[in-house]
């Protein structure tokens, strides 16, 4: 409570955050439990939602647009699913994070606890949902006998971790900024739509003309999506790992920036919320 140099204060806040890990854990559990409370299928929705999504894409790409994709990517719906599942985690986490401090305004104004817990919980709850989608993905990968390389699968947790770091950084940034500029919410929704189409998820990076590909390479999520697709779907060894590690380093920087901005705005949150 006594004024300390900003750097020390930031470290103290990080330490305090560590002490609240049990709370984060419980809040994530609460988030998941409360979401499906009162629905008949309950937790099953976490499996059913991605399954239905997969069926919709299968329908579109086998019945409506059978020729809209390269022949070497079969079944194409499954290829898309490899990118959509992590994208859903990413975009829903950011959208919820943009609202989470305002929705929890009462807490921030009246209870002393580190506010960054709230966006962190949103991202982690999204991660859990993502993980619930994985068995569905795995089941279909096995059903279609997609040739997987066991060594490639070791990359999977690394990709997941990098995406987690990247999402956390942006979620912290977005949640604190929204408190000051409510427009961030609407801006973000549209930006995410653009971002979705600027990422090779419903198309393959190889289909894109070279000049545009250079542009797409600037998009960090491109490399995450490609990494998921290579590791989970495409045959052959994972070759894009230098890109992935670069994104990993960038993500650490994003997280540091996000936390720094959040920490700087922390004292104004209780008043502006």
């Amino acid at each position: 409570m006594i004024r300390r140099p900003a750097g020390l204060r930031l470290l103290a806040h990080l330490h305090q955050l560590f002490r609240y890990r049990a709370l984060i854990q419980s809040l994530v559990a609460r988030e998941l439990e409360a979401r499906y409370r009162g629905s008949v299928l309950g937790f099953l929705w976490s499996f059913v939602n991605p399954l239905l999504l997969l069926l919709v894409y299968t329908f579109v790409f086998t019945v409506v647009l059978p020729a809209a994709h390269p022949p070497d990517l079969q079944p194409f719906a499954l290829f898309m699913f490899c990118g959509i599942l992590p994208w859903t985690w990413f975009s829903s986490s950011l959208l919820e994070a943009s609202n989470v401090l305002i929705a929890g305004g009462n807490l921030i104004r009246k209870v002393l606890f580190p506010a960054e817990v709230l966006p962190i919980v949103t991202v982690l709850a999204g991660l859990v949902h993502f993980c619930f989608g994985l068995p569905i993905l795995a089941a279909f990968l096995i059903y279609y006998r997609v040739p997987l390389v066991a060594a490639d699968l070791l990359w999977f947790p690394v990709i997941l971790l990098i995406q987690l770091v990247f999402t956390l950084g942006l979620a912290l940034l977005v949640s604190a900024l929204t408190v000051h500029f409510r427009d961030v919410r609407d801006l973000l929704a549209n930006l995410l739509t653009l971002w979705f189409f600027a990422t090779p998820i419903i198309y393959a990076l190889s289909q894109v003309p070279g000049s545009v590909r250079r542009l797409l390479n600037l998009n960090p999520f491109t490399h995450l999506a490609v990494a998921y697709q290579e590791v989970l779907f495409r045959a052959g060894p994972f070759t894009q790992w230098p890109w992935l590690l670069a994104v990993g380093l960038g993500s650490l920087f994003v997280l540091a920036c996000g936390y720094f901005v959040f920490d700087r705005l922390r004292d104004t949150l209780a008043e502006e919320v």
Binding site: R30, V111, L112, F113, D183, D267, A270
Partner: protein, 437 residues
């Protein structure tokens, strides 16, 4: 050792003008003023340099009017927000009873909410588990603890919130006006819990409008007024000073009200009605002014102990009612009367010169009447005063019905109307202390 040290704390809140309030990211970006738009163009000081210490183990009360900065001070001590200037240092674990049950999630059970709320307030999971039964028993929610919180009544919700917060077992407990959460029995339980805190040497900081609580519970009190510390010290002294100040402000408003209705020369309404139009029973009549006005009460004033005009009196003070009277024509049948009514319309006292045995009454020209009450032994509250000049048979010359207001303050919440001078004596094995403020 000080549990809380507050040094020169100033808290400035931003107030945005209408133009800025609706400033958006877009306009900020377009005009390139992102940073300047984050700067407020108008500020408001909720606290203007407040310093005080709270010695560990003491119960400290903060009193003051609405908007005096009490709650802001409490939030700063709780660590919610940072002072704009100055420092706040607190030793030990702090728990704040500011908003009870903030952070309860309606969809999940009371049990899970207790865990999450407890952890939010700084307990570990194990600590919550160890206190869980006690918390539920304190909230009296044994039968409902597994029901979702959205099914709770607001009283149950508050009780659970209070129970969790108080079982955090802090070194410093901050309480903001939250004792009105339950029925009488629960309030007593809360007060017992505070007393237990006190016995165990914990520090309690209480922000409240219940002055009674401050004088009964606190070892020390601080009076905040417009963001400035006006007085700190013995709770009785601070509360008395505060009450006196409030009385001053009330005096002013009652004065202004009195001036507004300063009896006009030819008032409208029931005034001037013939005697037979009078309400048959004056004690049931509504407020107003009646009479034939041969004799006119042109001004009514109240004065306190030292003869100063006043509208607010301490219980037991002397009070003068002063009437300025003018007879338009000489009269030889004249009685003066006075009545005091409480807010419920109950007549507390009524008398006149006739019932007190005056043989005759006559008047010519101007005169003054002073009715002196040596001890105004009434309980706290607002009272309406009747004054009248009338004939022996009751026909009024000038009857002011419930037109004048005074306020009596005692700082104690007794029941009834009359406050006889009294004292308590105890003997044998009885020990009751702290009486006789």
């Amino acid at each position: 050792m000080n549990a809380i040290e507050v040094r020169g704390v100033r808290k400035t809140y931003r107030r945005y003008s209408r133009r800025r309030r609706f400033a958006t990211l877009k306009s900020a970006l377009l005009s390139g003023r992102v940073l300047s738009d984050l700067r407020p163009d108008e500020t408001f000081d909720a606290l203007k340099g407040v310093s005080f210490d709270v010695v560990a183990g003491r119960t400290f009360g903060i009193v003051g009017r609405n908007g005096s900065g009490k709650s802001t001070m409490l939030k700063l001590i709780a660590g919610i927000g940072r002072p704009t200037e100055g420092t706040v240092a607190v030793k030990g674990r702090v728990s704040a009873l500011i908003e009870l049950g903030a952070g309860f999630h309606p969809e999940i059970s009371g049990r899970e909410n207790v865990y999450i709320n407890g952890m939010m307030l700084g307990l570990t999971k194990r600590e919550v588990a160890a206190r869980f039964d006690e918390i539920v028993a304190f909230a009296e929610l044994e039968d409902f603890i597994d029901a979702p919180v959205k099914t709770y009544s607001s009283g149950m919700y508050m009780r659970l919130g209070f129970a969790v917060a108080i079982h955090v077992d802090p070194d410093v407990l901050l309480v903001d006006e939250v004792l009105a959460v339950g029925d009488e029995a629960f309030t007593h339980k809360c007060l017992d819990k505070f007393a237990e805190f006190k016995r165990r040497g914990r520090t309690v900081l209480l922000v409240t409008h219940s002055l009674d609580l401050v004088t009964r519970f606190c070892d020390e009190a601080l009076w905040l007024d417009g963001g400035v510390a006006r007085l700190q010290g013995d709770p009785k002294r601070v509360v008395d000073a505060y009450l006196l100040d409030v009385a001053g402000v009330e005096n002013q408003t009652l004065d202004e009200e009195a001036a507004e209705r300063s009896l006009p020369a030819s008032p409208a309404g029931p005034d001037g009605a013939a005697p037979h139009d009078l309400p048959s029973d004056m004690s049931t009549a509504v407020e107003g002014r009646w009479g034939s006005r041969e004799v006119e009460i042109s001004a009514v004033a109240f004065a306190g102990p030292n003869g100063q005009p006043a509208h607010v009196f301490h219980s037991g003070d002397p009070m003068d009612i002063r009437l300025q009277v003018r007879a338009r024509e000489p009269v030889s049948d004249l009685v003066f009367g006075v009545g005091i009514f409480n807010a419920d319309g109950v007549c507390c006292y009524g008398t006149n010169t006739d019932v007190e045995g005056a043989a005759s009454g006559a008047m010519n020209g101007d005169g003054q009447v002073t009715f002196t009450i040596d001890r105004l032994d009434l309980v706290e509250g607002s009272y309406k005063i009747d004054v009248a000049a009338h004939r022996k048979n009751g026909a009024p010359y000038d009857y002011h019905r419930l037109l004048h207001t005074i306020r009596v303050v005692s700082g104690i919440r007794e029941a009834g109307i009359f406050r006889p001078p009294h004292r308590w004596n105890f003997s044998g094995g009885i020990r009751i202390t702290g009486l006789g403020r």
